[in-house]
């Protein structure tokens, strides 16, 4: 199987979808040149009408994506950095998340808002704050966060074909990551997790970059005889409760790792659900690992302290492994 970078996999997904459906368009700032390269080269094949550079107007462009989706197109709106979705937030939260329902099912909105979410590259607070919990919180919006080149291709294609608004979150730190990506067309179902590493002792739930941190931690834990299972959610909403709960039923211990803030973050959502639905399987309290609750600082030294690192997962794993529940009567 050919090996590709994460970015090349995004490019391949976009090219295939633009090719197979004339209603797919790609619109955003500098999508021709491709700021994060995922859109690079597509203008040459698909031209001005399908690959559209816009002014710097996130609210307008996101809204235009919604309007175009309501009237027959399948727009992929490229918003470059996750934090720029805050500028588009009104259109996504007040229009995309309500229209179909509010108008009694008269429309469907097949629009993808694609961006680079998260930190780790010393870009400072305005470019590094994770945004996914805001969108997880909204009704009717799907949220996808792929971790590998293989996944990003299949999930992006599925997102474009989905008839619902999807916030599609790539991670800047994963752009040059390489992996096997088939040249053939394939999609991966939204809402389905994948067990990236099997293990009997504890379950680590993660998505995006955190999957890699979890895998690193799992490798280290294996050296001390602890076998961690790493569940990559792939889609944050709807998320695959079934796979996660089944894993926790097997292991009895769980760590939820998310690159977002601890209050109402991804880890909070997963931990709450697990505590509610797998309570009797638990041998230790569910652990949450999230960002420190401060803006993402510029200094690489500080930034590393904010974003969950493999060491924090290892430490939490030792903690839960050392826990024994008191006798219940």
């Amino acid at each position: 199987m050919p090996r590709k970078t994460y970015i090349a996999a995004i490019q391949a997904a976009l090219a295939e979808e633009l090719r197979q459906d004339p209603n797919v368009i790609l619109i955003g700032e500098d999508v021709r040149l491709g700021v994060f390269a995922g859109t690079r080269g597509l203008h040459a094949e698909f031209g001005d009408a399908r690959v559209i550079d816009t002014p710097i107007s996130e609210l307008g462009v996101a809204g235009a994506g919604i309007g175009a989706a309501a009237t027959g197109l399948r727009p992929v709106v490229d918003l470059m950095f996750g934090t720029f979705l805050y500028l588009a937030f009104d259109q996504i939260a007040n229009q995309a998340a309500t229209m179909r329902y509010m108008f009694g099912g008269q429309t469907r909105l097949p629009v993808v808002f694609m961006t680079q979410n998260g930190g780790g590259i010393g870009a400072g607070p305005h470019h590094s704050q994770p945004v996914h919990p805001f969108f997880m919180n909204l009704p009717l919006i799907k949220v996808v966060m792929p971790s590998t080149p293989y996944d990003v291709k299949g999930l992006l294609k599925a997102a474009i074909r989905d008839d619902n608004p999807v916030v599609f979150l790539n991670h800047l730190s994963l752009g040059s990551q390489r992996g096997e990506v088939p040249d053939e067309a394939y999609t991966l179902p939204l809402g389905k997790a994948e067990i990236k590493r099997a293990g009997r002792d504890l379950t680590v739930v993660a998505a995006g970059l955190m999957v890699h941190h979890a895998l690193k931690a799992a490798a280290e834990l294996a050296e001390s005889g602890i076998e961690a299972e790493v569940v990559d959610l792939r889609t944050l909403k709807p998320w695959d409760e079934e796979t996660v709960l089944a894993s926790v039923e097997r292991t009895g211990r769980c760590i939820c790792v998310d690159e977002s803030y601890p209050v109402c973050g991804g880890a909070s959502e997963w931990a709450a659900c697990i505590s509610e639905k797998a309570f009797y399987a638990l041998k230790a309290p569910v652990q949450r690992i999230s960002n420190a609750h401060v803006p993402i600082p510029f200094s690489p030294t500080l930034e590393k302290m904010v974003i969950p690192q493999p060491a924090a997962i290892v430490a939490a794993a030792h903690r839960v492994m050392a826990t024994t529940l008191p006798e219940r009567n």
Binding site: L33, I56, A123, S299, L302
Partner: protein
């Protein structure tokens, strides 16, 4: 212009130029983390405007903000330390290149969100008006930012409330890699002022004296309580949008040939230097000594930044809730 004023203007430009050249070198050597956007080629705008401001006047800047901080009188050592992410930096290493601020001289911060600073400047103007002072607030922003909603809302708001604000659009003719003329159907952003009922002036942003003249009128108007002005300074980025972009663009070109030629012809430092020399008011040795001193100060700033410590966990949790 009086010789001391002229020298002041020249000093501001030269400080920015020498600082930015050094930052460019450091970035190329891989010594600076994150993104860096240089102000080389645009110095006359920040310098020309800030030469008119008092320490208690406000400015709000952009991602391309080093020049604004320096023009307002910022300290090179604390700036350089911030670029290195050190605890001695202006923001203790928590802001970096795109987020330098010095509230003690009215520099309310650079901003990584395009157009994000414009409403903040309006707020500073509102504050001055409400408190009954004659302070003014200046918002610097780019041609690209003038396509954001925040620009339009801010102009209208400041106009409706007659606030003492200068909206200074640095039209360097690109937003990242997109030519401004492709992102809007007008050539003069100053035209947009009309829609909000405020004066809109165009000035050669590579000519510090011209900027100074235009700003004088706008500042006076704001101090008199007559409301905001939009100044469009036509200028050029000498380099790329961000440092290191050549590697990142993989050979893709986007600069318009005639614009690139114009950028080379219109160097604001050279322009002012030529004017001063032809004018004969300031001896050449004075300029040379000044250059030497500034270059020395930049070198010292780098040494200071290098010798400074990285921030620690205490700093991470500082400056949250008051």
């Amino acid at each position: 212009m009086e010789p001391n004023k002229l020298l002041d203007l020249y000093t501001r430009i030269l400080r920015i130029r020498r600082f930015e050249e050094q930052v460019g070198t450091l970035f190329a050597q891989g010594q600076l983390p994150g993104f860096v956007h240089l102000y080389i080629g645009e110095e006359a705008v920040g310098a020309g405007i800030c030469a008119l401001l008092r320490d208690d006047d406000y400015i709000v800047s952009t991602h391309r903000g080093h020049g604004h901080v320096l023009a307002k009188g910022g300290d090179m050592q604390r700036m350089m330390a911030e670029l290195f992410g050190k605890r001695t930096g202006y923001c203790k290493g928590k802001g970096g290149s795109m987020h330098i601020a010095d509230f003690s001289i009215g520099m309310l911060g650079a901003c990584g969100i395009v157009g994000g600073g414009i409403p903040v400047a309006v707020g500073a103007g509102l504050s001055a008006k409400t408190r009954g002072t004659d302070q003014v607030a200046v918002s610097f922003f780019g041609d690209g930012a003038s396509n954001e909603g925040s620009f339009h809302e801010s102009l209208n708001l400041a106009s409706a409330l007659a606030l003492p604000v200068l909206f200074v659009c640095e039209n360097n003719q690109y937003g990242e890699f997109t030519p401004a003329i492709q992102a809007m159907n007008i050539r003069d952003i100053a035209l947009r002022a009309q829609g909000y009922g405020i004066p809109g002036v165009i000035v050669d942003g590579t000519d510090a004296l011209a900027v100074y003249d235009v700003a004088q009128e706008a500042v006076a108007r704001a101090r008199r309580g007559e409301g905001p002005t939009l100044i469009e300074a036509k200028t050029h980025r000498r380099g790329g949008h961000a440092e290191g972009e050549e590697a990142f663009l993989g050979g893709q070109q986007y600069r318009l040939a005639d614009e690139l030629a114009a950028a080379r012809r219109n160097d604001p430092l050279l322009k002012l230097h030529t004017f001063i020399v032809e004018n004969g008011q300031i001896p050449l040795e004075t300029l040379e000594t000044l250059d030497h001193e500034i270059t020395q100060a930049v070198t010292e700033a780098v040494a200071f930044a290098r010798a400074s410590e990285a921030p620690d966990e205490t700093i991470l949790y500082e400056d949250t809730w008051v």
